[in-house]
Symmetry: none
Subunit: 128 residues, 4 copies
DNA sequence: GTGGTCTAGACCACT
DNA sequence: GTGGTCTAGACCACA
């Protein structure tokens, strides 16, 4: 499914959250698809089950997945995701800072916009 | 100078790093300008001096400021900043994820590129 | 593991960094080996945990060790170490000065080269 | 005479000590030659006179210079220098560590000995 | 005055 | 258990 970098400074549960988010955002995982069970994923990643659990809780909190007691964890429909307005602003702000840092490191405006276009194309959320 | 959000999940020293970085990137703080002394800033933010110190050293590590013992901490010249290649990749990757998340939250491609263009214009790093 | 010299002009955390570096360089500590925990080492050296922590972070910054939150601090693989070019120059320069000082104290050229050869042989970094 | 790097982490007085030591070791400054006066040097380097004074004291302590009250500071004869045995050992130990670090950074044995030979040739202490 | 080191001890997050 | 953050406050070296 994906790989962890144990030596990274990012905590493991956070890496898992990010990776799964990414898989959902790139629609590798599609709505209502079942995620691997906690136990299963904990084995394949050789990670403590509690860590997986925490990741799933985090994803659920943000509305990326929903849990059905006793049967598992599933990718949520888009409409069910939390579009917290405050979170959107935070996101924009972070992107702004990162863009500034890119400029700072010497990237030219057209390089940046080129980069962004690539990124946008990788997202595939325009067929509904 | 700026304010902290004690409720934030970000640690205090990290907030300080980010805020000062932002001030440098937006050229509110200009090269060779002196930062507030550790003790001074610690008073205005009502934060322990050690916490401020930690922030300053972090900024120094990334080449944003330089320190002259006994005389203070100063904004570094652009050319002295660390343009760590690995850091650049990390930055791009983070932007990519954030862009995807923006799309996910419903922003259309042209809205995003418009946003980015605004951000780029706010950066003022093209006069040298 | 080793001993500190409290009377030294070198700061404690710096002594710890140097000693551990030495242990790694002489391969007494081998890649992926676990270092003593912060608290543990702080007890055996009767030094404050924060001081140990600082040493570990310094070593991490230079790529000698890596840290896995919640599980410990480990000796890094050779390839992961930072071979900062600037650091290399600094190192050479320091050796040059020290060599001159040796001469000054009366050592003859062949004595010095002899010494150096011994030192080189003690290093064991040629088996990969 | 020489230049300081104010942005360096080395303290100013220490930089001065090292530079003057270097000038003496390379015999740019010869025995019994007069060093610039404290005031004079403090002006040319735009540094606080106390800082210069401290440097001179340090050099005197190590036997590199001697002071004649009211008339100035002079380069000492070789024989008057402190050849503190303990200091010699410390010096060797530091060189050993630095050599190991050089190896560690990938320099081959012959590269290192070549380097050392260059360094030795720069010293010119064999004509007496 | 400046930054930097160190201690003691509390509290948090991750595994 | 692990590392990491933060505080309060002492003390040092440098300019």
């Amino acid at each position: 499914m994906f790989q962890l970098d144990l030596k990274s400074r990012k905590s493991i549960y956070e890496q898992i959250v990010d990776k799964i988010k990414e898989l959902i955002l790139t629609e590798v995982l599609t709505p209502n698809e079942k995620l691997p069970s906690v136990r299963e994923l904990s084995k394949t990643l050789t990670v403590n089950p509690n860590t997986i659990l925490k990741s799933y809780r985090e994803l659920e909190k943000d509305g990326y997945v929903y849990t059905i007691g006793g049967s598992g964890c599933f990718v949520a429909e888009k409409k069910d995701r939390n579009t917290d307005k405050w979170k959107l602003e935070e996101l924009k702000h972070r992107i702004q800072n990162d863009i500034m840092e890119l400029q700072y490191l010497g990237l030219q405006p057209d390089e940046i916009t080129g980069l962004i276009k690539q990124f946008i194309e990788k997202g595939v959320f325009y067929h509904d």
